[in-house]
Structures are given as structure tokens and as C-alpha cells.
């Protein structure tokens, strides 16, 4: 569970101060996949950093329901001097849980999701979509209870984006993880989420929240539903595009 309660965050630089987030309140329940969507520059990355505890709010409180979280970003940030397998072990090493048992689990996870033949390879030998999948498995290796995703698909080309997007969603659902995704992509948010939180332009406030339940839960089916385009229109209006 993750709870933002009246969160405000202000950046201070020599040039001045920027309030990126103001009085923001929303909740992510356990097992839920929540997307936060807003125009570019509204404060989405800031929200993710606040959620991950990388930034401390200027006021208000971020409540985390205990447990670990994993963080996945727009760029995969794989270390080219490590093999795919060693990249996946990185969080185990950092969190000092690098036991043979945990490593075995991580490898099993990687194999389960089609990385078996790539484990000993360098990340540089993989395609963008495959790299992003490695990044997800790396995030999952430390067995987080919650995932925070910062536009993890936006660096991919359109075709790959759809595939990786479906991939990631099914892996996250398959592993029964809670997830918070920030994105500016409306269709991505609708296709993936149980709930969409719409933000205003900077400073980010909640404009609306939508529970999304149509389709069978897979992004692919959702995109084909008639409700998809209706929801898309509603969100588009709320975002003012």
C-alpha cells in the first residue's frame, strides 16, 4: 500500500523555487496497478521520487505499507560491464541479500520470462525491448512488494513499446505485485491500470480518478474494447489536450 496525503514538494535552486507538487492525495492499494498521468513537466517524476523516498516531501506524508519496493525507469540503466545475469543480481548485492537461494530465484524468474539464453550475454547484445525486460527482472529480483515505474516504455519505438508494455503488465500481474506507473501516455495508462489518477499541469494536483475494469485484464484485450476510446476521450479532455 502507498498513500500520498496532502503532499507538497518544492524544488529550490539558485534561479528560484518551483513547486512541482501541491496538496497531492491518492492511494495505491495492495495488488493494484495504478497509473498517474499528467502533461509533460507537471511533476510526475517528482511524484515517483517521493514515492520511492528519494525525495522527502516539503509537507505532508507519504505512507508506505512496509515491505520493499523496486524502481524501474525510462532508461534501463543496465551496467554494460556486467552480464545480464550479474545485472539481475545487482539489487541482491546492494541490499546484502546475495545468497545462493536468492540468486537461484532470480535466475528462475529470468528463465521463466524468456531470458534463459541471454543470462551470460552482455546487455549491449540485446534489443531495446529485451533490455527493458532484463531491467524489470532486475527490479523483481529483490522480491519487492511494490513496483514504481517511471515511463519505462517511452524510450522504445512504437511496435516494441506495445509488446514490452504487455510483457511487463503480465509479469507484474503474474507475480501479483502492486505497481505505480507514471506516464504521459493516455493509452498506456488505460491499457495497464486498475486505476488512473489524472494530474493537472504544474503544480500537480489530482484532477480526477478513474477505476478501470473492462476487458479481461490484459492490455491487448483492453485496447480492443469499445470502452477504450471512450475512456481515452474523457482522459484527453481532463488533461486539456
Amino acid at each position: 500500500m502507498l498513500k500520498f496525503e496532502n503532499i507538497t514538494y518544492t524544488y529550490h535552486t539558485k534561479e528560484g523555487e518551483t513547486t512541482a507538487v501541491k496538496d497531492l492525495t491518492f492511494t495505491v492499494e495492495d495488488g493494484q496497478f495504478v497509473s498517474v498521468i499528467g502533461p509533460s513537466g507537471c511533476g510526475k517524476t517528482t511524484i515517483l521520487s517521493l514515492a520511492a523516498g528519494i525525495l522527502a516531501p516539503s509537507s505532508g506524508e507519504v505512507k508506505r505499507g512496509g515491505g520493499e519496493f523496486g524502481y524501474m525507469l525510462q532508461r534501463d540503466a543496465l551496467f554494460p560491464w556486467r552480464s545480464v545475469e550479474q545485472n539481475i543480481f545487482l539489487p541482491l548485492e546492494v541490499k546484502k541479500r546475495n545468497t545462493p537461494e536468492m540468486r537461484q530465484k532470480a535466475v528462475a524468474l529470468a528463465e521463466k520470462y524468456g531470458l534463459k539464453d541471454f543470462l551470460k550475454k552482455s546487455p549491449n547484445q540485446l534489443s531495446g525491448g529485451m533490455r527493458q525486460r532484463v531491467a524489470l527482472i532486475r527490479t523483481l529480483a529483490a522480491e519487492p512488494d511494490m513496483l514504481m515505474l517511471g515511463e519505462p516504455f517511452s524510450a522504445l519505438d512504437y511496435q516494441t513499446r506495445l509488446e514490452v508494455c504487455d510483457d511487463v503488465q503480465s509479469i507484474i500481474k503474474g507475480e501479483k505485485k502492486t505497481a505505480l506507473l507514471v506516464t504521459h501516455d493516455i493509452s498506456e495508462a488505460i491499457a495497464l491500470s486498475d486505476k488512473v489518477v489524472v494530474l493537472s499541469a504544474r503544480p500537480a494536483r489530482v484532477v480526477a480518478e478513474h477505476k478501470i475494469a473492462f476487458g479481461d485484464g490484459s492490455p491487448k484485450k483492453r485496447r480492443e474494447c469499445p470502452e477504450f476510446s471512450q475512456t481515452f476521450e474523457i482522459l484527453r479532455k481532463e488533461l486539456g489536450i
Binding site: R75, A77, F79, E93, K112, Y113, G114, M130, G174
Partner: protein
């Protein structure tokens, strides 16, 4: 749950490597052309050296130039022979090589460590920046008299000189390498709760390895400058000493010989570092 179908871009492109002999004809022609280019370059390099030495020797032989002032390849060879006979050649080489390697090693280790400290503390970096800039632009030879008075005229003085000449570049290059590390990767480490030490070990050090290799290459050249400069000022032995001594007593053969050996040593040391670099970057 079964493995997911592979995404479209997931196919690996099989790359033919050197072991494959079933190359196309164009590729073979291309390889041949590349090899020929390489041969031309190597041969040209050798020819230039031979030409210089040959012309030098010839001019000296026909007294176009005065070998007393310019020396000549044959005289250099003879001098090397003499130095080997009286047993001092390897003594002088050993002294200079020892000073250079010691100074170089100290400068690299100390410089790298200081860079780590500066990286770890933003305020330390800001506070010390002007000192580093001034030290960097100061001609180190100006410190010669102070070094002699403080440290004396032994090897330590020369090693000290070598260190101060090369350490600043070690600090600045290493630090630049640390700072250039991708911000997304840093964010990733932070999101995993990594502290400074872990971030340094798992990310900063391996990511900046190419910068370190580059630092070594620059520092080794500076270390030679430092050690020879040091020997000019204070020494009783070493190649720098031979050069200064040879100049004072007008033994130009000795000056040329020492310079020639210095070229070989400096080139050799650079070569070793280049090989190490290749090892790491492969």
C-alpha cells in the same frame, strides 16, 4: 506460467567472427585491403626511423655535421657498449625507472583516493577547487629549491617531484570520470538504498574505468617529466643526471645515449599501459 513469446526485436543477429571461413568474396577482399593498409603503415614507420638514423649517420661520417656536437648513431651504440662494460648503464636506468614508477604509482593511488573523497563530499570539492586549480597551473619546477631544503637531495626528493607533477591530473581526470557517470544509473543505485561506498564500488569505479585508463596514460608521461626534472635539479645518478652531466662536460654522445634510452623506456611504459587498457576495455 509459460515463457512469453519473444518480442519482435529480440532476435539475435548472428555475427560472423574471425573463425568463420565462409566469408563472401567482397569480405575477403575487404580484409585483404585492411591488412595491406596495416602493412604499409608499419613499413612506413620503420622506414622513417631508418631514414633519420641513416641520414644522421651519413652526415656525421662525411663531416657535414660535427659529431662532437650532434653525436651519431654509431657513437650512441658505442657509448651504450661502454656504459654496459663499466657496469653503470643498468644502474642509471634502474634509478630513473624506479623513481618514475614509484612516483607514478603514488600519484595514481593518492590522486584516485583524493578524487574519491572529493566525489563523496560536495563541499570538499567546492572548498578545494581553487587550490587544485592553482596547483595545476603552478610550474612545479618552481618548488625545486623548497623540495631540496625540505626533503634533501636523495631519491625521495625526485619521487616527490614526480608525484607533484603528475598527481593533479590524476585527481582531475578521475573526478571528471566519476562525475560523468550516467545519472539514471545513480538514481537506480539510490532507489535500491545504496550508500556512498556501495555506489562507489558497484557503479562509479567500474563505470569510470575507461577514464582511469586514460588517466594512467596521461600520468605516465607526466611522471617521466617529473622524474627527469627532479634529476636535473638534485640528482647524483639516473638518466636525467647523465644528460645534465653530459651537457656540462660536453659529452654529447652521453646526452644522446641517455635521451635515446629515455625514449625507449617512456615508449615501453606507455605501451604496457595501452596493453592493460585493451585488456580492460575488451
Amino acid at each position: 506460467m509459460t515463457a512469453l513469446p519473444r518480442a519482435a526485436g529480440d532476435k539475435e543477429i548472428p555475427m560472423k567472427n574471425k573463425k568463420d571461413n565462409n566469408f563472401s568474396r567482397e569480405h575477403l577482399a575487404y580484409l585483404r585491403k585492411e591488412r595491406n593498409k596495416k602493412i604499409v603503415i608499419t613499413v612506413s614507420r620503420i622506414l622513417i626511423l631508418v631514414a633519420i638514423l641513416g641520414i644522421w649517420e651519413l652526415c656525421a661520417q662525411v663531416k657535414l655535421i660535427d659529431p662532437f656536437i650532434t653525436s651519431s648513431p654509431s657513437r650512441v651504440v658505442k657509448t651504450i657498449g661502454d656504459l654496459i662494460k663499466n657496469g653503470t648503464l643498468f644502474y642509471h636506468i634502474g634509478i630513473t625507472l624506479g623513481e618514475t614508477i614509484a612516483g607514478f604509482a603514488i600519484a595514481v593511488v593518492l590522486g584516485y583516493s583524493i578524487a574519491v573523497l572529493l566525489w563523496a563530499s560536495d563541499s570538499a570539492m567546492k572548498i578545494l577547487e581553487p587550490y587544485i586549480v592553482v596547483l595545476n597551473s603552478l610550474p612545479k619546477i618552481a618548488l625545486g629549491p623548497l623540495i631540496i631544503i625540505w626533503i634533501g637531495t636523495g631519491y625521495t626528493a625526485i619521487i616527490f617531484m614526480t608525484v607533484i607533477v603528475s598527481i593533479i591530473v590524476c585527481i582531475m581526470n578521475s573526478l571528471a570520470g566519476f562525475i560523468a557517470v550516467d545519472r539514471t544509473k545513480l538514481l537506480l543505485m539510490r532507489s535500491m538504498g545504496a550508500g556512498k561506498v556501495t555506489t562507489l564500488r558497484k557503479l562509479i569505479m567500474p563505470a569510470s574505468l575507461p577514464a582511469l585508463m586514460n588517466t594512467l596514460k596521461v600520468a605516465v608521461g607526466l611522471a617521466w617529466i617529473g622524474s627527469i626534472m627532479g634529476e636535473y635539479i638534485v640528482s647524483k645518478a639516473g638518466l636525467g643526471y647523465l644528460i645534465v652531466y653530459g651537457g656540462q662536460v660536453f659529452k654529447l654522445d652521453l646526452v644522446m645515449t641517455a635521451t635515446f634510452i629515455l625514449c625507449l623506456l617512456a615508449g615501453g611504459m606507455y605501451g604496457i599501459i595501452a596493453i592493460i587498457e585493451k585488456r580492460f576495455n575488451k
